[in-house]
Amino acid sequence: MIALMSDRLVIQSVTKFFGSAQNPVRAVDDLSLTVKENEFFTLLGPSGCGKTTLLRLVAGLESCDSGCILLDGADIAPLPANKRPVNTVFQSYALFPHMTVAENIGFGMRMQGKDPADIEKAANEVLDLMRMQGFGARYPSELSGGQQQRVALARALVNRPKILLLDESLSALDYKLRKEMQIELKRLQRETEITFIFVTHDQEEALSMSDRIAVMERGRIGQLGTPQEIYHRPVSRYVADFIGICNFVSAGSLGLAEDVHIGFRPEDATLLVRDGQKPETDGPVLGGRLHALSYHGAVTYYQVTLDSGETVTVADHEKLPVNVDDRVRVAVLPDMLIRCAP
Protein backbone atom coordinates (compact mmCIF):
# COMPACT_ATOMS: atom_id res chain seq x y z
CA MET A 1 0.00 0.00 0.00
CA ILE A 2 1.38 3.38 -0.94
CA ALA A 3 0.66 6.35 1.28
CA LEU A 4 -0.69 9.20 -0.80
CA MET A 5 -0.28 12.85 0.11
CA SER A 6 -3.85 13.07 1.29
CA ASP A 7 -3.61 9.95 3.41
CA ARG A 8 -3.30 11.01 7.02
CA LEU A 9 -3.33 7.57 8.62
CA VAL A 10 -2.51 4.24 7.03
CA ILE A 11 -3.02 1.11 9.08
CA GLN A 12 -1.29 -1.90 7.55
CA SER A 13 -2.01 -5.49 8.60
CA VAL A 14 -2.26 -4.63 12.26
CA THR A 15 -2.92 -7.47 14.68
CA LYS A 16 -3.41 -7.27 18.43
CA PHE A 17 -3.84 -10.26 20.73
CA PHE A 18 -5.39 -10.26 24.16
CA GLY A 19 -5.83 -13.03 26.68
CA SER A 20 -3.33 -15.62 27.78
CA ALA A 21 -0.60 -17.21 25.67
CA GLN A 22 -2.52 -20.52 25.65
CA ASN A 23 -5.79 -18.88 24.69
CA PRO A 24 -5.09 -15.77 22.65
CA VAL A 25 -7.96 -13.65 21.37
CA ARG A 26 -7.43 -11.54 18.26
CA ALA A 27 -8.93 -8.20 19.25
CA VAL A 28 -7.69 -6.70 15.98
CA ASP A 29 -7.07 -9.21 13.24
CA ASP A 30 -4.78 -8.36 10.33
CA LEU A 31 -6.63 -5.12 9.76
CA SER A 32 -5.77 -2.49 7.15
CA LEU A 33 -7.43 0.84 6.44
CA THR A 34 -6.67 4.38 5.36
CA VAL A 35 -8.00 7.60 6.84
CA LYS A 36 -7.73 10.73 4.68
CA GLU A 37 -6.76 14.21 5.72
CA ASN A 38 -9.56 16.30 7.20
CA GLU A 39 -11.92 13.37 7.28
CA PHE A 40 -14.60 12.47 9.83
CA PHE A 41 -13.99 8.75 10.02
CA THR A 42 -16.09 6.45 12.19
CA LEU A 43 -15.33 3.00 13.58
CA LEU A 44 -18.70 1.39 14.14
CA GLY A 45 -19.52 -1.93 15.71
CA PRO A 46 -20.97 -3.73 18.71
CA SER A 47 -18.99 -3.96 21.94
CA GLY A 48 -16.11 -6.38 21.67
CA CYS A 49 -15.64 -5.91 17.93
CA GLY A 50 -12.20 -4.35 18.43
CA LYS A 51 -13.03 -0.75 17.57
CA THR A 52 -11.79 0.71 20.84
CA THR A 53 -8.67 -1.46 20.71
CA LEU A 54 -7.93 -0.15 17.22
CA LEU A 55 -8.33 3.42 18.49
CA ARG A 56 -6.02 2.72 21.43
CA LEU A 57 -3.47 1.24 19.04
CA VAL A 58 -3.47 4.50 17.09
CA ALA A 59 -3.23 6.50 20.33
CA GLY A 60 -0.34 4.35 21.52
CA LEU A 61 -2.16 3.17 24.64
CA GLU A 62 -1.78 -0.38 23.36
CA SER A 63 1.04 -1.75 21.25
CA CYS A 64 0.56 -3.74 18.04
CA ASP A 65 1.62 -7.37 17.96
CA SER A 66 2.30 -6.99 14.23
CA GLY A 67 1.75 -4.53 11.40
CA CYS A 68 2.49 -0.86 11.12
CA ILE A 69 0.68 2.41 11.62
CA LEU A 70 1.76 5.22 9.29
CA LEU A 71 0.97 8.79 10.26
CA ASP A 72 1.74 11.12 7.34
CA GLY A 73 3.93 8.37 5.94
CA ALA A 74 6.01 7.73 9.09
CA ASP A 75 5.58 4.58 11.17
CA ILE A 76 4.42 5.55 14.65
CA ALA A 77 3.84 1.99 15.88
CA PRO A 78 7.09 1.91 17.89
CA LEU A 79 6.42 5.28 19.55
CA PRO A 80 4.91 5.52 23.06
CA ALA A 81 1.66 7.44 23.49
CA ASN A 82 3.37 10.59 24.71
CA LYS A 83 5.47 10.81 21.53
CA ARG A 84 2.53 10.61 19.11
CA PRO A 85 0.98 13.79 17.69
CA VAL A 86 -2.54 12.45 18.21
CA ASN A 87 -4.91 13.13 21.09
CA THR A 88 -7.79 11.26 22.61
CA VAL A 89 -11.14 12.23 24.06
CA PHE A 90 -11.81 9.45 26.56
CA GLN A 91 -15.17 7.85 27.09
CA SER A 92 -15.08 8.85 30.77
CA TYR A 93 -13.46 12.19 29.79
CA ALA A 94 -10.60 11.43 32.27
CA LEU A 95 -10.33 15.07 33.30
CA PHE A 96 -7.76 15.60 36.05
CA PRO A 97 -9.88 16.32 39.14
CA HIS A 98 -7.12 18.22 40.93
CA MET A 99 -6.62 20.72 38.10
CA THR A 100 -8.80 23.60 36.96
CA VAL A 101 -10.31 23.62 33.50
CA ALA A 102 -7.50 25.91 32.30
CA GLU A 103 -4.84 23.64 33.85
CA ASN A 104 -6.45 20.60 32.29
CA ILE A 105 -6.45 22.25 28.89
CA GLY A 106 -2.88 23.49 29.28
CA PHE A 107 -1.56 20.12 30.46
CA GLY A 108 -0.50 18.80 27.05
CA MET A 109 1.36 21.98 26.09
CA ARG A 110 2.93 22.19 29.53
CA MET A 111 4.27 18.64 29.22
CA GLN A 112 5.79 19.63 25.90
CA GLY A 113 7.55 22.53 27.60
CA LYS A 114 5.67 25.29 25.79
CA ASP A 115 5.84 28.87 26.99
CA PRO A 116 3.27 29.61 29.75
CA ALA A 117 2.07 32.75 27.94
CA ASP A 118 1.43 30.71 24.77
CA ILE A 119 -0.36 28.06 26.81
CA GLU A 120 -2.67 30.64 28.36
CA LYS A 121 -3.41 32.19 24.99
CA ALA A 122 -4.11 28.84 23.34
CA ALA A 123 -6.30 27.75 26.27
CA ASN A 124 -8.38 30.92 25.99
CA GLU A 125 -8.78 30.46 22.24
CA VAL A 126 -9.94 26.89 22.57
CA LEU A 127 -12.35 27.86 25.37
CA ASP A 128 -13.78 30.43 22.95
CA LEU A 129 -14.06 27.79 20.26
CA MET A 130 -15.89 25.51 22.69
CA ARG A 131 -18.11 28.40 23.86
CA MET A 132 -16.80 27.88 27.38
CA GLN A 133 -15.44 31.38 28.05
CA GLY A 134 -15.10 32.11 31.74
CA PHE A 135 -14.93 28.48 32.86
CA GLY A 136 -11.13 28.38 33.07
CA ALA A 137 -10.90 28.67 36.85
CA ARG A 138 -13.50 26.01 37.59
CA TYR A 139 -12.73 22.44 38.65
CA PRO A 140 -14.16 19.51 36.67
CA SER A 141 -16.38 18.52 39.60
CA GLU A 142 -18.14 21.89 39.27
CA LEU A 143 -19.17 21.22 35.66
CA SER A 144 -22.12 19.39 34.16
CA GLY A 145 -21.59 16.29 32.06
CA GLY A 146 -21.92 18.24 28.83
CA GLN A 147 -19.43 20.87 30.01
CA GLN A 148 -16.95 18.19 31.07
CA GLN A 149 -17.29 16.73 27.59
CA ARG A 150 -16.41 20.11 26.06
CA VAL A 151 -13.39 20.48 28.33
CA ALA A 152 -12.19 17.01 27.34
CA LEU A 153 -12.53 18.04 23.69
CA ALA A 154 -10.78 21.34 24.31
CA ARG A 155 -7.94 19.61 26.18
CA ALA A 156 -7.30 17.43 23.15
CA LEU A 157 -7.91 20.02 20.42
CA VAL A 158 -5.66 22.67 21.96
CA ASN A 159 -2.64 20.58 20.99
CA ARG A 160 -3.64 20.78 17.29
CA PRO A 161 -3.27 16.99 16.94
CA LYS A 162 -2.88 15.44 13.51
CA ILE A 163 -5.75 13.15 14.43
CA LEU A 164 -8.35 13.53 17.16
CA LEU A 165 -9.46 10.18 18.54
CA LEU A 166 -12.91 10.06 20.14
CA ASP A 167 -13.74 6.93 22.12
CA GLU A 168 -17.51 6.58 22.54
CA SER A 169 -17.30 10.17 23.60
CA LEU A 170 -21.01 10.96 23.48
CA SER A 171 -22.33 7.78 25.09
CA ALA A 172 -22.44 9.22 28.61
CA LEU A 173 -24.66 12.14 27.59
CA ASP A 174 -28.44 12.08 27.63
CA TYR A 175 -30.34 11.90 24.35
CA LYS A 176 -30.95 15.60 23.77
CA LEU A 177 -27.43 16.68 24.71
CA ARG A 178 -26.02 13.93 22.50
CA LYS A 179 -27.90 15.27 19.50
CA GLU A 180 -26.55 18.76 20.20
CA MET A 181 -23.02 17.49 20.58
CA GLN A 182 -23.23 15.57 17.29
CA ILE A 183 -23.84 18.84 15.49
CA GLU A 184 -21.20 20.56 17.60
CA LEU A 185 -18.61 17.92 16.76
CA LYS A 186 -19.26 18.30 13.04
CA ARG A 187 -18.86 22.07 13.36
CA LEU A 188 -15.59 21.68 15.27
CA GLN A 189 -14.25 19.25 12.73
CA ARG A 190 -15.05 21.69 9.89
CA GLU A 191 -13.61 24.69 11.69
CA THR A 192 -10.42 23.05 12.93
CA GLU A 193 -9.84 20.93 9.81
CA ILE A 194 -8.49 18.17 12.03
CA THR A 195 -8.96 14.52 11.08
CA PHE A 196 -11.42 12.88 13.48
CA ILE A 197 -11.59 9.17 14.18
CA PHE A 198 -14.77 8.51 16.07
CA VAL A 199 -15.61 5.23 17.79
CA THR A 200 -19.25 4.42 18.44
CA HIS A 201 -21.71 1.57 18.68
CA ASP A 202 -24.59 3.89 17.74
CA GLN A 203 -25.36 3.45 14.03
CA GLU A 204 -27.56 6.54 13.90
CA GLU A 205 -24.72 8.65 15.28
CA ALA A 206 -22.32 7.11 12.77
CA LEU A 207 -24.62 7.71 9.79
CA SER A 208 -25.37 11.31 10.65
CA MET A 209 -21.81 12.49 11.36
CA SER A 210 -19.33 10.53 9.29
CA ASP A 211 -17.66 11.09 5.96
CA ARG A 212 -16.81 7.42 5.93
CA ILE A 213 -17.64 4.53 8.22
CA ALA A 214 -15.77 1.29 8.88
CA VAL A 215 -18.17 -1.31 10.26
CA MET A 216 -16.09 -3.68 12.39
CA GLU A 217 -16.76 -7.34 12.98
CA ARG A 218 -14.63 -9.50 15.27
CA GLY A 219 -11.42 -7.54 14.81
CA ARG A 220 -11.83 -7.09 11.07
CA ILE A 221 -13.53 -4.58 8.82
CA GLY A 222 -16.93 -5.82 7.70
CA GLN A 223 -17.43 -2.94 5.30
CA LEU A 224 -15.84 0.43 4.68
CA GLY A 225 -17.68 3.17 2.84
CA THR A 226 -19.78 6.33 2.95
CA PRO A 227 -22.89 6.28 5.13
CA GLN A 228 -25.04 5.93 2.00
CA GLU A 229 -23.08 2.93 0.77
CA ILE A 230 -23.15 1.28 4.16
CA TYR A 231 -26.88 1.81 4.55
CA HIS A 232 -28.12 1.03 1.07
CA ARG A 233 -25.46 -1.35 -0.19
CA PRO A 234 -24.43 -3.43 2.80
CA VAL A 235 -22.11 -6.21 1.69
CA SER A 236 -23.14 -8.69 4.34
CA ARG A 237 -26.04 -9.61 6.53
CA TYR A 238 -23.93 -8.62 9.51
CA VAL A 239 -23.51 -5.07 8.24
CA ALA A 240 -27.12 -4.79 7.07
CA ASP A 241 -28.39 -6.05 10.44
CA PHE A 242 -26.15 -3.74 12.39
CA ILE A 243 -27.14 -0.62 10.47
CA GLY A 244 -30.83 -0.05 11.08
CA ILE A 245 -33.58 -2.60 10.74
CA CYS A 246 -33.29 -4.95 7.78
CA ASN A 247 -35.73 -7.66 6.76
CA PHE A 248 -34.21 -10.80 5.33
CA VAL A 249 -36.19 -13.30 3.44
CA SER A 250 -35.10 -16.35 1.49
CA ALA A 251 -34.62 -15.81 -2.21
CA GLY A 252 -37.27 -18.47 -2.78
CA SER A 253 -40.07 -16.50 -1.15
CA LEU A 254 -39.36 -13.67 -3.57
CA GLY A 255 -39.48 -16.01 -6.51
CA LEU A 256 -35.76 -15.60 -7.21
CA ALA A 257 -33.44 -18.44 -7.98
CA GLU A 258 -30.20 -16.78 -6.78
CA ASP A 259 -28.21 -18.20 -3.89
CA VAL A 260 -28.06 -14.94 -1.93
CA HIS A 261 -29.60 -13.30 1.11
CA ILE A 262 -32.21 -10.81 0.02
CA GLY A 263 -33.04 -7.96 2.32
CA PHE A 264 -34.99 -4.75 2.34
CA ARG A 265 -35.39 -1.86 4.75
CA PRO A 266 -38.78 -1.33 6.44
CA GLU A 267 -39.21 1.99 4.62
CA ASP A 268 -38.52 0.32 1.26
CA ALA A 269 -41.77 -1.62 1.35
CA THR A 270 -45.41 -0.70 1.56
CA LEU A 271 -48.19 -2.49 3.32
CA LEU A 272 -51.25 -3.31 1.15
CA VAL A 273 -54.26 -3.65 3.44
CA ARG A 274 -57.19 -3.70 1.02
CA ASP A 275 -58.05 -6.66 -1.14
CA GLY A 276 -57.18 -5.95 -4.74
CA GLN A 277 -55.08 -2.90 -3.85
CA LYS A 278 -52.43 -2.46 -6.58
CA PRO A 279 -48.80 -1.88 -5.57
CA GLU A 280 -47.26 1.36 -6.92
CA THR A 281 -44.24 -0.46 -8.29
CA ASP A 282 -43.85 -3.84 -9.88
CA GLY A 283 -41.64 -5.45 -7.26
CA PRO A 284 -42.33 -8.67 -5.37
CA VAL A 285 -45.51 -8.83 -3.29
CA LEU A 286 -45.59 -11.12 -0.27
CA GLY A 287 -48.73 -12.32 1.47
CA GLY A 288 -49.05 -12.62 5.24
CA ARG A 289 -50.85 -11.75 8.41
CA LEU A 290 -50.32 -8.66 10.57
CA HIS A 291 -48.63 -9.85 13.75
CA ALA A 292 -48.14 -6.61 15.67
CA LEU A 293 -47.90 -2.88 15.16
CA SER A 294 -46.11 -0.21 17.11
CA TYR A 295 -46.59 3.52 16.87
CA HIS A 296 -43.41 5.65 16.96
CA GLY A 297 -44.76 9.12 16.23
CA ALA A 298 -43.33 9.92 12.80
CA VAL A 299 -43.65 6.31 11.64
CA THR A 300 -45.61 3.22 12.54
CA TYR A 301 -43.95 -0.20 12.34
CA TYR A 302 -46.01 -3.13 11.13
CA GLN A 303 -44.76 -6.61 11.85
CA VAL A 304 -45.99 -9.13 9.35
CA THR A 305 -45.74 -12.88 9.54
CA LEU A 306 -45.37 -14.02 5.93
CA ASP A 307 -47.03 -17.14 4.58
CA SER A 308 -43.52 -18.62 4.35
CA GLY A 309 -43.28 -18.26 8.16
CA GLU A 310 -40.69 -15.46 8.03
CA THR A 311 -41.34 -12.20 9.89
CA VAL A 312 -40.71 -8.79 8.28
CA THR A 313 -41.18 -5.21 9.45
CA VAL A 314 -42.69 -2.49 7.28
CA ALA A 315 -42.64 1.22 8.12
CA ASP A 316 -45.34 3.65 7.10
CA HIS A 317 -45.84 7.29 7.93
CA GLU A 318 -49.55 6.80 8.16
CA LYS A 319 -51.68 4.89 10.56
CA LEU A 320 -53.28 2.38 8.17
CA PRO A 321 -56.81 0.99 8.66
CA VAL A 322 -55.67 -2.45 9.73
CA ASN A 323 -55.87 -4.63 12.83
CA VAL A 324 -53.71 -7.39 14.23
CA ASP A 325 -54.43 -10.76 12.57
CA ASP A 326 -55.80 -9.14 9.38
CA ARG A 327 -54.57 -10.51 6.06
CA VAL A 328 -52.11 -8.06 4.45
CA ARG A 329 -49.62 -7.98 1.60
CA VAL A 330 -46.12 -6.50 1.57
CA ALA A 331 -44.96 -4.80 -1.64
CA VAL A 332 -41.18 -4.38 -1.87
CA LEU A 333 -39.56 -1.64 -3.96
CA PRO A 334 -37.57 -3.63 -6.51
CA ASP A 335 -34.49 -1.38 -6.81
CA MET A 336 -34.11 -1.23 -3.04
CA LEU A 337 -33.45 -4.94 -2.62
CA ILE A 338 -30.22 -5.70 -0.81
CA ARG A 339 -28.30 -8.69 -2.07
CA CYS A 340 -25.72 -10.12 0.27
CA ALA A 341 -23.47 -13.11 -0.01
CA PRO A 342 -24.86 -15.91 2.13
Binding site: A59, P80, H98, A156
Partner: protein, 263 residues
Protein backbone atom coordinates in the same frame (compact mmCIF):
# COMPACT_ATOMS: atom_id res chain seq x y z
CA UNK B 1 -38.96 1.48 63.36
CA UNK B 2 -38.45 -1.07 66.13
CA UNK B 3 -40.82 -3.48 64.40
CA UNK B 4 -38.17 -3.88 61.72
CA UNK B 5 -36.08 -6.98 62.27
CA UNK B 6 -32.89 -5.18 61.42
CA UNK B 7 -33.25 -3.18 64.61
CA UNK B 8 -32.59 -5.77 67.28
CA UNK B 9 -33.76 -4.81 70.77
CA UNK B 10 -30.89 -4.09 73.14
CA UNK B 11 -28.21 -3.78 70.45
CA UNK B 12 -28.30 0.01 70.68
CA UNK B 13 -27.86 -0.16 74.43
CA UNK B 14 -24.94 -2.60 74.09
CA UNK B 15 -23.33 -0.23 71.59
CA UNK B 16 -23.64 2.78 73.86
CA UNK B 17 -22.25 0.82 76.81
CA UNK B 18 -19.48 -0.58 74.60
CA UNK B 19 -18.44 2.88 73.50
CA UNK B 20 -18.54 4.06 77.12
CA UNK B 21 -16.36 1.07 78.04
CA UNK B 22 -13.84 2.01 75.32
CA UNK B 23 -13.62 5.64 76.44
CA UNK B 24 -13.88 5.27 80.22
CA UNK B 25 -10.13 4.68 80.79
CA UNK B 26 -9.19 7.49 78.42
CA UNK B 27 -11.45 9.88 80.31
CA UNK B 28 -10.12 8.63 83.66
CA UNK B 29 -6.53 9.47 82.73
CA UNK B 30 -7.47 12.89 81.39
CA UNK B 31 -9.69 13.80 84.34
CA UNK B 32 -7.13 12.80 86.96
CA UNK B 33 -4.40 14.69 85.14
CA UNK B 34 -6.26 17.80 86.32
CA UNK B 35 -6.43 16.68 89.95
CA UNK B 36 -4.88 19.21 92.28
CA UNK B 37 -3.77 16.66 94.90
CA UNK B 38 -1.01 14.09 94.72
CA UNK B 39 -3.54 11.31 95.26
CA UNK B 40 -4.17 9.87 91.85
CA UNK B 41 -7.74 8.68 92.29
CA UNK B 42 -9.08 10.93 94.99
CA UNK B 43 -10.41 14.12 93.46
CA UNK B 44 -9.19 17.18 95.35
CA UNK B 45 -10.09 19.95 92.96
CA UNK B 46 -9.16 21.20 89.53
CA UNK B 47 -5.60 22.16 88.77
CA UNK B 48 -3.51 22.70 85.69
CA UNK B 49 -0.23 22.36 87.61
CA UNK B 50 0.76 18.86 86.48
CA UNK B 51 1.10 19.84 82.85
CA UNK B 52 3.95 22.34 83.29
CA UNK B 53 5.54 19.83 85.68
CA UNK B 54 5.34 17.04 83.12
CA UNK B 55 6.66 19.32 80.41
CA UNK B 56 9.51 20.35 82.67
CA UNK B 57 10.52 16.80 83.68
CA UNK B 58 13.89 16.17 82.05
CA UNK B 59 13.39 12.37 81.78
CA UNK B 60 10.09 12.88 79.99
CA UNK B 61 11.61 15.61 77.83
CA UNK B 62 14.48 13.40 76.72
CA UNK B 63 12.12 10.51 76.03
CA UNK B 64 9.72 12.76 74.12
CA UNK B 65 12.57 14.02 71.92
CA UNK B 66 13.62 10.43 71.23
CA UNK B 67 10.02 9.54 70.42
CA UNK B 68 9.77 12.40 67.95
CA UNK B 69 13.06 11.53 66.24
CA UNK B 70 12.08 7.89 65.88
CA UNK B 71 8.50 8.63 64.82
CA UNK B 72 9.48 11.23 62.22
CA UNK B 73 12.28 9.04 60.85
CA UNK B 74 10.28 5.81 60.79
CA UNK B 75 7.28 7.59 59.25
CA UNK B 76 9.33 9.16 56.48
CA UNK B 77 11.22 5.98 55.57
CA UNK B 78 8.20 3.73 56.10
CA UNK B 79 5.88 5.89 54.01
CA UNK B 80 8.31 6.12 51.09
CA UNK B 81 8.79 2.35 51.11
CA UNK B 82 5.04 1.80 51.42
CA UNK B 83 4.35 4.20 48.54
CA UNK B 84 6.84 2.42 46.28
CA UNK B 85 5.37 -0.95 47.26
CA UNK B 86 1.82 0.25 46.63
CA UNK B 87 2.78 1.55 43.17
CA UNK B 88 4.56 -1.69 42.31
CA UNK B 89 1.81 -3.95 43.64
CA UNK B 90 -0.91 -1.95 41.90
CA UNK B 91 0.74 -2.26 38.49
CA UNK B 92 1.10 -5.49 36.57
CA UNK B 93 4.89 -5.60 36.43
CA UNK B 94 5.26 -7.82 39.49
CA UNK B 95 4.82 -11.58 39.08
CA UNK B 96 1.79 -13.03 40.86
CA UNK B 97 3.67 -15.22 43.40
CA UNK B 98 5.83 -12.27 44.45
CA UNK B 99 2.71 -10.15 44.85
CA UNK B 100 1.07 -12.74 47.08
CA UNK B 101 4.24 -13.07 49.15
CA UNK B 102 4.32 -9.30 49.52
CA UNK B 103 0.71 -9.15 50.66
CA UNK B 104 1.46 -11.79 53.29
CA UNK B 105 4.53 -9.86 54.46
CA UNK B 106 2.38 -6.73 54.63
CA UNK B 107 -0.14 -8.49 56.90
CA UNK B 108 2.37 -10.25 59.18
CA UNK B 109 3.50 -7.28 61.31
CA UNK B 110 -0.17 -6.59 62.08
CA UNK B 111 -0.91 -10.18 63.06
CA UNK B 112 2.25 -11.42 64.80
CA UNK B 113 2.02 -10.55 68.52
CA UNK B 114 4.15 -7.53 69.27
CA UNK B 115 6.16 -9.31 71.92
CA UNK B 116 7.31 -11.85 69.31
CA UNK B 117 8.44 -9.08 66.95
CA UNK B 118 10.11 -7.44 69.91
CA UNK B 119 12.16 -10.42 71.08
CA UNK B 120 13.04 -11.67 67.60
CA UNK B 121 14.26 -8.21 66.58
CA UNK B 122 16.19 -7.91 69.82
CA UNK B 123 17.80 -11.31 69.25
CA UNK B 124 18.59 -10.33 65.65
CA UNK B 125 20.27 -7.08 66.64
CA UNK B 126 22.18 -9.02 69.29
CA UNK B 127 23.32 -11.62 66.77
CA UNK B 128 24.52 -8.89 64.40
CA UNK B 129 26.01 -6.97 67.30
CA UNK B 130 24.22 -3.94 65.88
CA UNK B 131 24.57 -1.03 68.32
CA UNK B 132 23.19 2.08 66.71
CA UNK B 133 21.44 3.38 69.80
CA UNK B 134 18.31 5.15 68.68
CA UNK B 135 19.03 3.75 65.18
CA UNK B 136 18.07 0.26 66.41
CA UNK B 137 14.71 1.59 67.56
CA UNK B 138 14.26 3.41 64.26
CA UNK B 139 14.87 0.26 62.20
CA UNK B 140 12.42 -1.74 64.29
CA UNK B 141 9.80 0.98 63.91
CA UNK B 142 10.20 1.25 60.13
CA UNK B 143 9.15 -2.40 59.80
CA UNK B 144 5.78 -2.04 61.50
CA UNK B 145 5.15 1.46 60.14
CA UNK B 146 5.13 0.18 56.55
CA UNK B 147 1.81 -1.74 56.69
CA UNK B 148 0.05 1.13 58.43
CA UNK B 149 1.25 3.64 55.85
CA UNK B 150 0.52 1.18 53.04
CA UNK B 151 -3.18 0.58 53.74
CA UNK B 152 -4.55 4.09 52.98
CA UNK B 153 -2.21 4.50 49.99
CA UNK B 154 -3.35 1.19 48.60
CA UNK B 155 -7.01 2.10 49.18
CA UNK B 156 -6.47 5.39 47.37
CA UNK B 157 -4.53 4.00 44.44
CA UNK B 158 -7.33 1.64 43.50
CA UNK B 159 -9.73 4.57 43.17
CA UNK B 160 -7.63 6.34 40.51
CA UNK B 161 -9.11 5.41 37.13
CA UNK B 162 -6.63 3.90 34.68
CA UNK B 163 -7.80 6.39 32.07
CA UNK B 164 -6.37 9.22 34.19
CA UNK B 165 -2.82 8.04 33.55
CA UNK B 166 -3.61 7.22 29.95
CA UNK B 167 -4.88 10.75 29.46
CA UNK B 168 -1.64 12.10 30.92
CA UNK B 169 0.42 9.98 28.53
CA UNK B 170 -1.84 10.88 25.64
CA UNK B 171 -1.14 14.51 26.53
CA UNK B 172 2.63 14.08 26.10
CA UNK B 173 3.58 13.31 29.72
CA UNK B 174 6.39 10.77 30.13
CA UNK B 175 6.34 8.20 32.96
CA UNK B 176 7.88 10.55 35.47
CA UNK B 177 5.72 13.55 34.51
CA UNK B 178 2.56 11.43 34.68
CA UNK B 179 3.58 10.28 38.15
CA UNK B 180 4.60 13.75 39.29
CA UNK B 181 1.61 15.67 37.93
CA UNK B 182 -1.23 13.14 38.07
CA UNK B 183 -0.60 10.07 40.26
CA UNK B 184 1.16 11.85 43.11
CA UNK B 185 -1.37 14.69 43.57
CA UNK B 186 -4.25 12.23 43.39
CA UNK B 187 -2.53 9.92 45.87
CA UNK B 188 -1.52 12.74 48.22
CA UNK B 189 -4.42 12.38 50.67
CA UNK B 190 -3.72 8.64 50.96
CA UNK B 191 -0.01 9.22 51.43
CA UNK B 192 -0.60 11.88 54.05
CA UNK B 193 -3.18 9.80 55.84
CA UNK B 194 -0.88 6.78 55.78
CA UNK B 195 2.02 8.83 57.09
CA UNK B 196 -0.12 10.11 59.97
CA UNK B 197 -1.20 6.60 60.91
CA UNK B 198 2.40 5.38 60.75
CA UNK B 199 3.42 8.34 62.88
CA UNK B 200 1.00 7.60 65.72
CA UNK B 201 1.74 3.89 65.53
CA UNK B 202 5.42 4.66 66.01
CA UNK B 203 4.73 7.28 68.66
CA UNK B 204 2.53 4.85 70.63
CA UNK B 205 4.66 1.74 70.32
CA UNK B 206 5.78 0.38 73.62
CA UNK B 207 6.66 -3.32 73.71
CA UNK B 208 8.99 -3.42 70.72
CA UNK B 209 10.79 -0.30 71.88
CA UNK B 210 11.04 -1.69 75.42
CA UNK B 211 12.90 -4.76 74.19
CA UNK B 212 14.97 -3.16 71.44
CA UNK B 213 15.96 0.21 72.90
CA UNK B 214 19.44 0.32 74.38
CA UNK B 215 19.93 2.41 77.55
CA UNK B 216 19.54 6.11 76.80
CA UNK B 217 17.33 5.48 73.80
CA UNK B 218 14.03 5.17 75.62
CA UNK B 219 10.92 6.68 74.11
CA UNK B 220 8.01 8.38 75.84
CA UNK B 221 5.82 5.27 76.25
CA UNK B 222 8.77 3.31 77.70
CA UNK B 223 9.50 6.16 80.10
CA UNK B 224 5.82 6.30 81.09
CA UNK B 225 5.86 2.53 81.62
CA UNK B 226 8.83 2.62 83.94
CA UNK B 227 7.26 5.46 85.88
CA UNK B 228 3.92 3.62 86.08
CA UNK B 229 5.77 0.59 87.45
CA UNK B 230 7.10 2.81 90.23
CA UNK B 231 3.65 4.25 90.95
CA UNK B 232 1.25 6.38 88.98
CA UNK B 233 1.40 10.12 89.65
CA UNK B 234 -0.79 12.96 88.31
CA UNK B 235 2.31 14.10 86.47
CA UNK B 236 2.33 10.86 84.46
CA UNK B 237 -1.38 11.27 83.82
CA UNK B 238 -0.63 14.71 82.41
CA UNK B 239 2.11 13.38 80.12
CA UNK B 240 -0.15 10.50 79.08
CA UNK B 241 -3.04 12.86 78.39
CA UNK B 242 -0.88 14.92 76.08
CA UNK B 243 0.18 11.78 74.20
CA UNK B 244 -3.48 10.69 73.93
CA UNK B 245 -4.45 14.13 72.66
CA UNK B 246 -1.76 14.01 69.97
CA UNK B 247 -2.95 10.57 68.82
CA UNK B 248 -6.61 11.52 68.76
CA UNK B 249 -5.89 14.75 66.90
CA UNK B 250 -3.77 12.94 64.31
CA UNK B 251 -6.24 10.12 63.73
CA UNK B 252 -9.06 12.63 63.23
CA UNK B 253 -6.86 14.64 60.85
CA UNK B 254 -6.11 11.47 58.91
CA UNK B 255 -9.84 10.79 58.52
CA UNK B 256 -10.62 14.30 57.35
CA UNK B 257 -7.82 14.27 54.79
CA UNK B 258 -8.69 10.90 53.35
CA UNK B 259 -12.41 11.55 53.12
CA UNK B 260 -12.25 13.54 49.90
CA UNK B 261 -12.91 11.24 46.97
CA UNK B 262 -10.82 11.21 43.78
CA UNK B 263 -13.79 11.85 41.51
Amino acid sequence: MSTQAKNMPGFGAITFLGIAFLYLPILAVIIFSFNSGRMITVWEGFSFDWYPRALGNSDLQRAAINSMIVAVGATTIGTVIALCAALALHGDGVPRPLKNASYTMMALPLLVPEIVIAVTTMAFFGALNLRLGLGNVLIAHVVFCIPFAYAPIRARITTIPKSMLEAAKDLYADEWQAFRHVTLPLLAPGIFSGALLAFITSLDDFIITLMVAPPGATTLPVEIYSKVKRGITPEINAAASMLLAVSIFIVLLSYVINRKKVI
